[in-house]
């Protein structure tokens, strides 16, 4: 029986010729990742297990990004603990404020994820690196601890859904709209325990930043991982960012899929997820009149340079509507600097937006933009659960950077085409 991309990567890392869905395997890890929320729990478990060193100092990455720069004393204590752990274990990929970024923007940029890798991270959006043709998945702190100690993790081999993309996205449609459309179509548990495999000629119209956004939100459909076929764009990205050896896997022609979906990208419209689930999607022409208090542009989903370019293009020469707060979070220091050099930061600040240091911040209701009771935000982040960005009676609408920027100008959820053409 043929294998999917994911199955091939898992088999190779378990030292097996082939695997099939449902099979339990133990596989070697290329990278184990954690942040300032999940690593403290992992460190405690690591110490409890009796381990005294990490399996490979170059294959552990720790990124304090959630409540940093430290939002309060408790957060500071957690960061101090993981800083000391990283130092003590001589973890090579610990990124302090000044060099850190939002982990899922930072790891690919630093060249730590490449095609064919098997990566676990104690953060659900670890699935982002599937954009590079790697198998990467979110786990909890105990799995992170065991991974750091042994370099191994057990997996149940997933079956897969195949998404055949064709056609060219029109107007302001981006990777974010494609993935929101897909989640709206299959539901928040539509890919539960499964892989989402993205293939097809439409791929060539999706930039790497689009693909990172899409793979990032595979978890929002319940998937174990999202993975993209490797093409020239992937290899160009890898060449530019990494010196790590990599391996390109392709699905077998006779690989078996639970479902195959064909998606014509040229028919998609900007898409918005209404509260309180990512699958509650509406196309922009069906949104109605929804006034907003805050706009968030950034996060591990949409905090990359292209996202900022789109936002700045729309905001340039215009003004954020009086009474609306527009907060921009570049994903990494490099993205911040590049945006600065390109003049994007100037354009956005002149429009009345504020630009923050890289942090997960408001996405999870941590800090730097919490919502009050009854307030409403348009956000380029990934979740709109009850209370996600603050008060239990606040609301989050998920959208692309283009929709978010357009909405900042009008003060209500707006089709970017109504502000300007691409």
């Amino acid at each position: 029986m043929g294998m999917t991309m994911t199955q091939k990567i898992l088999a190779a890392h378990a030292g097996l010729q082939s695997v099939e869905p449902g099979q339990l395997i133990e596989a070697d890890l290329d990278l184990v990742l954690g942040n300032d929320i999940t690593t403290p729990v992992a460190v405690k478990e690591f110490q409890k297990s009796g381990a005294t060193k990490v399996f490979d100092k170059s294959k552990v990455a720790i990124v304090p990004d959630h409540f940093t720069p430290n939002k309060d004393i408790k957060a500071a204590e957690q960061c101090k603990m993981i800083r000391e752990f990283a130092h003590c274990m001589e973890v090579e990929n610990y990124f302090e404020i000044g060099e850190m970024g939002i982990e899922h923007c930072l790891i690919p940029e630093k060249g730590l994820a490449v095609p064919g890798d098997l990566i676990i991270g104690a953060d659900s959006h670890t699935c982002t690196y599937g954009a590079l043709g790697a198998f990467s998945t979110g786990v909890g702190s105990t799995d992170m601890a065991a991974g750091m100690a042994t370099g191994k993790c057990w997996f149940k081999v997933p079956s897969a859904l195949k998404f055949v993309l064709k056609g060219k996205p029109q107007g302001w449609v981006s990777g974010k709209d494609v993935i929101l459309h897909i989640i709206g179509m299959i539901g928040v548990d539509g890919a539960l325990y499964k892989s989402m495999e993205f293939v097809g000629e439409g791929l060539k119209y999706l930039s790497m930043d689009d693909r990172f956004t899409m793979a990032n939100m595979a978890i929002e459909a319940g998937a174990k991982n999202g993975i993209f076929l490797v093409d020239e764009k992937t290899l160009e990205y890898v060449k530019e960012h990494s010196t790590k050896p990599y391996k390109v896997y392709e699905p077998d022609a006779d690989a078996v899929y639970d479902e195959v979906y064909e998606i014509d990208l040229s028919t998609l419209k900007p898409t918005v997820s209404f509260p309180h689930l990512p699958d509650n999607t509406h196309t922009i022409d069906n949104v109605g009149d929804i006034a907003i208090d805050q706009v968030v542009i950034g996060s591990c989903t949409n905090g990359r340079l292209e996202d900022l370019r789109v936002a700045a293009k729309i905001l340039k020469g215009r003004k954020v509507k009086k009474g609306v707060r527009c907060i921009v979070f570049p994903g990494t220091q490099k993205i911040y600097l590049d945006a600065l050099k390109e003049g994007l930061i100037t354009d956005m600040v002149e429009a009345g937006a504020v630009v923050s240091t890289p942090t997960c911040g408001p996405c999870l209701g941590g800090h730097m933009g919490i919502l009050a009771k009854g307030e409403r935000a348009v956000s380029t982040t990934n979740r709109n659960f009850v209370g996600r960005m603050g008060h239990v009676e606040s609301e989050v609408y998920l959208a692309s950077p283009a929709v978010a920027a357009a909405s900042a100008i009008t003060g209500k959820i707006t089709d970017p085409a109504a502000i300007m053409s691409v």
Binding site: V41, E45, K74, G140, T142, D189, F385
Partner: protein
């Protein structure tokens, strides 16, 4: 190994943000986390939950973030078992790893209401609704998972083997 208690009943897609909101994740202390467990979906949960009680929910319980703080908060609040039609995969792994027993059983979920008294036998997978006098059968845990539960989590289990 058995669990017995009163049922707290929830619907589809109970996410980790309502199980333990991120604003409390600046600590990993189980007691502190338990004090805010389910706060954004059920304000009275913490007030009413008693040692041994059981959570029953529909589909995709524990979706969202990978925070292990979610099963930790549930376990520390006194809950002895979570029964759902399906679980989000990271939550499932995390619950097993920290020694919180969870069972997937759609028929049981359909036949249990809030406040029912329920008994679970993890060795046989038999779930009894004592209030309604009905019985359901879930897949019992495989042997290695039973051992993880008995050791109170994966790390203790690994240690006990070394």
């Amino acid at each position: 190994m058995k669990a017995k208690g009163k049922v707290f009943r929830y619907k589809d897609n109970v996410d980790t943000d309502v199980i333990i909101p991120a604003r409390y994740l600046n600590t990993s202390d189980p007691k502190e986390l338990a004090a805010h467990c389910m706060e954004d979906i059920d304000k009275d949960f913490v007030k009413n939950v008693k040692e041994g009680d059981i959570i029953v929910a529909d589909r995709n319980f524990g979706c969202g973030s990978s925070r292990e703080h979610a099963p930790i908060a549930i376990k520390a609040s006194g809950i002895s078992c979570v029964i759902a039609s399906t679980f989000a995969r990271i939550f499932y792994r995390n619950a097993i790893n920290i020694g919180l027993p969870i069972l997937e059983c759609e028929t049981a979920v359909k036949g249990i209401e809030a406040g029912d008294e329920v008994e679970v036998d993890f060795d046989t997978g038999v779930i009894r609704n004592l209030t309604k006098g009905t019985t359901f059968k879930a897949q019992p845990f495989p042997e290695f998972m039973k051992k993880i539960m008995a050791a109170n989590g994966l790390v203790n289990y690994i240690k006990s083997k070394m």
